[in-house]
């Protein structure tokens, strides 16, 4: 899932400072799980903005809406009427959701109320950890199911570096050393032979250095006729 956290209230207020009618738009998916932009957080942020407005004589009109998934057009279309006439929409979905709303409503001002951080998972209540680097060429089969791209501070493929101490990363003593974890995982699995081999320089073409990536599933792509029919239905 996508992990995000809310921007400080003062920053959000600064972003919408000169607006009057403001919509707070949440998402019931990932950001609800990481307690950043779900239904509850929409209510809290909207109320906080109202209080800020009252205290600072801003006369903001704050309204609220939540969709199932802001990253899918089908769901986002539902909030069209709520966006109508607003000066700005504070999306507290992830950066993906906010952009999908902007694409669908190009004349509306969509701003993000969250800082989108990573692809990760809840670890324990209130704690969320990054897990996947989205490199486009997964190596988990070589690394005992632990991603060195996201979880090693140097994204090393032949770690651990000399800074691994007592299972911790030199960069942050709170962070487990990914390569210490990889070593122990491969040892448990009886596959230490994998770590003895040099992993050659990685091909980063499938990663993010070539602009936005596009994945096409040919069998799901609509023909022009099918598109026309679908548009007719919509």
């Amino acid at each position: 899932m996508i992990i995000a956290e809310q921007k400080p209230l003062t920053e959000i207020c600064r972003i919408v400072e000169n607006d009057h009618k403001i919509l707070v738009a949440g998402c019931k998916s990932c950001v609800a799980i990481c307690l950043a932009g779900g239904e509850k957080e929409v209510g809290i942020l909207a109320e906080s903005l109202r209080l800020y407005s009252d205290l600072n004589n801003k006369e903001w009109e704050i309204s609220e809406v939540v969709v199932e998934r802001q990253c899918e057009k089908e769901w986002v279309r539902e909030i069209g009427p709520s966006i109508e006439g607003k000066d700005s929409v504070v999306s507290i979905a992830c950066g993906v959701g906010a952009q999908v709303v902007q694409e669908l409503y190009p004349d509306a001002r969509i701003v993000s109320g969250l800082n989108t951080s990573n692809m990760g998972a809840p670890d324990e209540p209130g704690i969320f950890l990054e897990k996947c680097g989205g490199c486009g060429d997964c190596v988990l089969h070589l690394t005992g199911g632990i991603c060195p791209i996201a979880r090693c501070a140097k994204s090393m493929l032949n770690g651990p570096c000399g800074g691994s101490q007592n299972g911790k990363c030199e960069v942050n003593p709170d962070t487990p050393c990914a390569w210490d974890q990889i070593y122990n995982s491969l040892k448990r699995l009886g596959r230490l032979n994998l770590i003895e081999k040099v992993i050659p320089p990685k091909n980063w073409i499938p990663s993010s250095s070539g602009g936005p990536r596009k994945i096409v599933r040919a069998e799901a792509v609509l023909t022009p006729e099918e598109k026309k029919t679908k548009e007719g239905v919509d």
């Binding site: 032949n158 030199e170 070593y183 992993i199």
Partner: protein, 247 residues
Amino acid sequence: MSSFASSLLCLQEGAEPVMQMTCRDRNRIALQSDLLGAAALGIKNVLCLSGDHQRFGNQKEAKNVYDIDSIQELQIFRTMRDEKTVWGGDKLEQAPNVFLGATENPFADPLEFRVMRLGKKITAGAEFIQTQAVFDIERFERWMSDVRERGLDRKAHILAGVVPLKSLGAAKYMKTKVPGMVIPDSTIERIRAVGDVKSEGVKMCVEKIEQIKSIKGVHGVHIMAIAWEEIVPEIVQKTGLYPRPNV
């Protein structure tokens, strides 16, 4: 200052430098380009490192590169030298004639993997190894015994790292702030107990070199006199390594 520039200055002064090339700030294209440049200018020794993370420096907000790691860097450089090709496959007219080195930290974890990792570096192309500073001689001896068991001391020249301690503050700083450096409390206590820290620091460093000399499989030392470079000649003389002994 970049290691490339400092190495060139050393060369101009008549010294033979070991150029350090880290993967933190340069991708494979830049590293290969620098290697060709260094070789063309007469730099012969290259130490391949992943590099200290930028969080330990004075510009923590910088973005790192880490296109490749130190082992892959060795692999690329060896390919350039031995197969006369750049990593992309294009032929070189002239191979960079360099002596390749790597670092290893016998004091990092997981302990049982450190020697295996040294083996990976040698397989990838390391011909000499500079270790992290040795303070805990017992752990270093244990590590060297594993190194000998795997026959790695016969495949690469191992240079043990030593650091002369200039002051109590410097010792504490290295213990807590320098990544990968392990300084036992007993060392700190010894420094704390003396009046003349500098001469004790030199004495301890010379003792360490003498202890290291007796360890089988070690081919030399490298002295890391951090912010105390001027002390190096004295240490070298006191250990009987200057004038250079015949071996």
